[in-house]
């Protein structure tokens, strides 16, 4: 019966009471049950004394190490190997970063200084120390290889490979198989034709400025195979450029690597000018020689330079000088 | 001081058109506080200040930055650059400048033709060819002395003639020129039209000058409302 009553009462009040109220009243009935006192509806929350604030205890820290460093200390002992930047052990007034209103932040607690690689372990005394330590393992420098030129002469070919430490169950890194072969083209004994053919065959792999031919092989799975293949390609290139094929005779003027005055219209124009008013045929042009003709030679040089080196003020002026000497000898004298 | 400035501004809002201390009134939303001074961007001006020793007064005064179209070029003219700004559409300043340059060329051509035609040396000397001078003369000729403002009295608005500031009257004159240039016939180019209009205005003639006279006439007609300005 009493349970029923309670239920009714609760239902009646259910519309008005706030959330959580039900639970609270239920709790209070339970608490009041042993004593037969009048139950009090405690609408206000029970006062909980605030938790006392955690006392701030200052951790005892040693002063930064840099303050106690003597001026003449051995730095290599302080910073023996590569290490992330540590402000306390570097006695330098470093600042790094950006602040809109203040000076750049100092070194303590400065993540920017920690992020960048430092070379504090590579000071000249440290390097010297290292070198003197490993000196006893070194053999004498071979004679006759004193300069870079000697190197190029005796070892014209450079083979570049790279080893990697790979951190996975297999230690093989795929990049380790790549082999780069570098050769100076002048190291080969090539004639004019062969050299031109070689350059055309290798295409982009030849650098004109340094005269170096670079062959990169990476198709085979192992380094040894790649190396062998690279050497094979080099050999094949060498022999191929030394052979003269039948179709190479069909080379046109447009295929020429350089401008050759004697094969060109320019010579024809010159011969026509010299032989004027005679009409000149192709045979005349071919047989015409400018051996003893200073004006003609100057003109030839100027045209060749103009077309081979490209036009600029210098080559154009040279060309002008040559042409004026040829067409207007009176002017040149004056 | 700050309080004083604040009150001043409030006063300005109430009594519009009356500027007790124009240097102190900053434009709305200006990035500069009111005590910032206009920049002296011309080298010649700075040299003058240095010669007269006035530069000492500027030493501790904060300056505004010079605007991007402020140059110390010999050919720079503040009134002309202002006019270009009034002319321009959609921020296409380059085009506006080009058009005005064409106008000036046209003016020069017209005036030079006049100059070459003239035989009397005295009259010949009196012909102004410099387009900038003609332009300035035209603008100063077209500056109105009064303007009309709408004032609400007894439920209806009255057009009340009020005195006009120098700055505003310059603005009126230049705006009339621009509007006039835009209302022209499509067959005529802006430069051609503007050139003849400017030359006419410099001789106290032309449409814009007429507009000024019309405004004066209206002000004269509405002089009875003049007291509405105060009460």
């Amino acid at each position: 019966m009493s349970v029923m009553q309670k239920c009714v009462m609760i239902r009646r009040t259910a519309n008005a009471i706030p959330i959580n109220y039900y639970q609270r009243t239920w709790c209070s009935t339970k608490a009041a049950a042993p004593t037969d006192e009048f139950r009090v509806l405690n609408l206000k929350k029970k006062f909980v004394p605030p938790q006392s604030k955690k006392k701030y205890t200052k951790t005892l820290l040693l002063p930064p190490r840099e303050t106690a460093m003597p001026v003449d200390q051995d730095w290599t002992n302080v910073w023996p190997g590569p290490k992330t930047f540590h402000p306390a052990s570097v006695p330098l007034a470093l600042r790094q970063g950006y602040d809109q209103k203040r000076a750049p932040p100092g070194k303590y607690g400065n993540a920017e200084l920690m992020k960048i690689p430092n070379f504090l372990h590579l000071t000249p005394p440290a390097v010297k120390k290292h070198c003197s330590a490993i000196k006893k393992f070194c053999t004498e420098w071979p004679k006759g290889l004193e300069t870079d030129e000697d190197f190029d002469k005796h070892f014209p070919m450079t083979i570049i490979t790279t080893d990697y430490c790979h951190s996975s169950p297999t230690i093989k890194d795929p990049k380790a198989r790549i082999v780069t072969i570098k050769v100076k083209l002048s190291a080969f004994d090539l004639d004019k034709h062969a050299r031109d053919k070689m350059i055309r065959l290798v295409g982009e792999r030849y650098d004109e400025e340094t005269d170096i031919l670079t062959i990169v092989t990476d198709r085979c799975p192992t380094r040894k195979q790649n190396y062998d293949y690279g050497i094979y390609v080099l050999t094949a290139l060498y022999h191929e450029s030394n052979t003269f094929e039948e179709w190479e005779k069909e080379k046109q003027e447009a295929d020429m690597e350089h401008y050759i005055w004697d094969n060109n219209v320019s010579k024809k124009a010159y011969v026509a000018l010299v032989e004027w008013p005679k009409k000149v045929s192709d045979d005349d042009v071919k047989s015409f020689s400018i051996e003893n003709d200073l004006v003609g030679q100057k003109y030839k040089d100027a045209v060749t330079e103009l077309l081979n080196n490209g036009e600029d003020t210098y080559t154009l002026n040279k060309y002008k000088e040559a042409v004026v000497g040829m067409l207007l000898p009176q002017n040149a004298q004056a | 001081m700050a309080l004083f400035v604040k009150h001043l501004r409030l006063g300005l809002i109430v009594k519009h058109g009356f500027h007790p201390l124009p240097q102190l009134t900053a434009a709305k939303y200006s990035v500069y506080p009111p005590h910032y001074v206009e920049p002296v961007f011309k080298k010649q001006d700075i040299d003058k200040l240095q010669e007269s020793g006035e530069i000492e007064n500027y030493k501790l005064v904060p300056f505004k930055a010079a605007r991007s179209n402020d140059t110390c070029s010999v050919f720079h003219d503040p009134l002309v650059s202002k006019f270009i700004n009034y002319m321009l559409k959609k921020g296409q300043k380059k085009i506006a400048r080009q058009v005005l340059e064409n106008t000036f060329e046209k003016i020069k051509r017209l005036q030079l033709a006049k100059y070459n035609r003239e035989t009397d040396p005295e009259r010949k000397a009196s012909i102004i060819i410099d387009p900038v001078i003609i332009f300035k003369k035209a603008v100063s000729n077209c500056k109105p002395l009064l303007k009309l403002t709408a004032v609400k009295r007894g439920g209806s608005y009255y057009q009340v003639p009020v005195p006009i500031t120098d700055k505003e009257s310059t603005f009126y004159a230049m705006r009339w020129f621009v509007h006039c240039g835009r209302e022209k016939d499509k067959a005529v180019s802006f430069a051609d039209f503007m050139a003849s209009e400017l030359i006419n205005a410099s001789n106290n003639d032309g449409r814009v000058f007429k507009k000024k006279l019309d405004l004066h006439k209206l002000c004269e007609a509405n002089r009875a409302y003049a007291h509405y300005r105060w009460s």
């Binding site: 010159y270 004027w276 002017n331 | 020069k108 310059t170």
Partner: protein
């Protein structure tokens, strides 16, 4: 506010100032005949009389802005400059029994190449050269609702009859007096159609008139005229100056022109261009060839450099090799100052004292300077 007050007072102040300023006068030379010009006259102005102007440049030859300026100034004054003097000196010294010497004027856009050519043309005109003058090649190749037909006489080539007739008019206008004087005749019969023939021994003027009246044959007429003139020159009967402005347009990749059957033609496919190219060949003597290459004549994708081989290409170079390249540089300081003096004298430049700024803005290019001063 203060600035505005200052501005408003400025206009009257400026007028006052003008009265005190002494307007400079440009240095001029009295020698009106270009043959007399030497290095003493360099950077000075000389005046061409209006009669010569109408007879030489009535139908083109001077740049349009310059023509407008001359109308404004009521005189045509050219500055004597080094490149033109160089070419004129070459023309004076040349051995006319040898094949023609070819000169090529090159330089930046607006450096005064066309006006140098005008100076040379004036010299040649005074020295009784027949002028075979092509005013500006790109005009031929520009799309201008031109009528383009396939040629009936030359296979694979296209004619632009009206333009050719116009050019013949230009030629006739320039050379009519001289041609009448020399009394040159045709060397063979020309059969245009069944009814129209030009018999051997006809005066060249008549041939030209025929070309003008029957525009259909104008292109062929141009070609025949050139061949006749070349032959006459080689026979020592006359002297001829071939002048081509915008020469590099002959070697452009394409034109805007389409024939009636909507085929785009390249410049090399146009018979007039072929005639022009044959005019600059050195297979004749007793004459000279002056060409002008300009970046503006090239297609707008190919204007990075003003140097001749870049503009003409290898083919063009081989066509005119050997030639004397003559650089037309920007104005020297004396020339620049004299030019501005001239503008001030003519009241064209109203603002004095901005010379350094103008020098910087225009990099001393005369055409740029002209345009800059227009609004000042």
């Amino acid at each position: 506010m203060r600035a505005y007050r200052r501005v408003c007072n400025y206009a009257t102040a400026a007028i006052k100032q003008e009265a005190q300023y002494q307007i400079p006068t440009a240095a001029r030379t009295d020698k009106t005949n270009p043959a007399d010009h030497d290095h003493h006259d360099e950077s000075k102005f000389y005046t061409i009389d209006p009669k010569t102007i109408t007879s030489l440049f009535q139908m083109g030859g001077l740049p349009k802005p310059f023509t407008e300026q001359t109308q404004m100034f009521a005189e045509t004054a050219l500055m004597v400059r080094k490149p033109a003097l160089e070419v004129i000196r070459g023309l004076k010294l040349a051995d006319y029994q040898k094949p023609v010497i070819r000169y090529l004027l090159y330089g930046q856009t607006g450096s005064g190449k066309s006006l140098s050519l005008a100076h040379i043309l004036h010299y040649a005109h005074n020295s009784k050269f027949i002028l075979y003058h092509i005013p500006y090649v790109p005009i031929w190749l520009k799309y201008d609702r031109k009528e383009v037909n396939w040629s009936t006489t030359k296979n694979g080539l296209a004619d632009i009859p009206l333009i050719a007739a116009q050019w013949l008019k230009h030629f006739k206008h320039q050379n009519e007096v001289l041609l009448n004087e020399l009394n040159l005749t045709t060397s063979q019969d020309y059969v245009w159609s069944i009814r129209e023939t030009t018999p051997k021994g006809t005066i060249l003027n008549e041939l030209i008139t025929h070309g003008i009246n029957r525009a259909k044959y104008a292109c062929d007429c141009m070609d025949i005229l050139l061949n006749e003139l070349k032959a006459h020159c080689s026979n020592n009967k006359c002297k001829m100056l071939v002048a081509v402005d915008g020469f590099n347009a002959f070697f452009n990749e394409k034109t805007d022109l389409k024939t009636e059957d909507r085929v785009r033609v390249t410049p090399q496919q146009i018979s007039m261009v072929q005639t022009g190219l044959s005019a600059v060949l050195s297979d004749w003597n007793n004459g000279a060839v002056v060409m002008v290459t300009s970046p503006r004549a090239a297609l707008n994708t190919k204007r990075e450099s003003h140097l001749p081989i870049y503009l003409c290409g290898r083919q063009g170079f081989e066509h005119i090799d050997p030639f004397i390249p003559v650089m037309v540089p920007e104005l020297t300081t004396t020339e620049f100052n004299n030019m501005l003096d001239y503008y001030e004298e003519k009241r064209w430049l109203q603002k004095t004292g901005g010379r350094k700024e103008l020098e910087f803005l225009t990099s001393r290019l005369p055409a740029e300077l002209m345009a800059r001063c227009a609004s000042l």
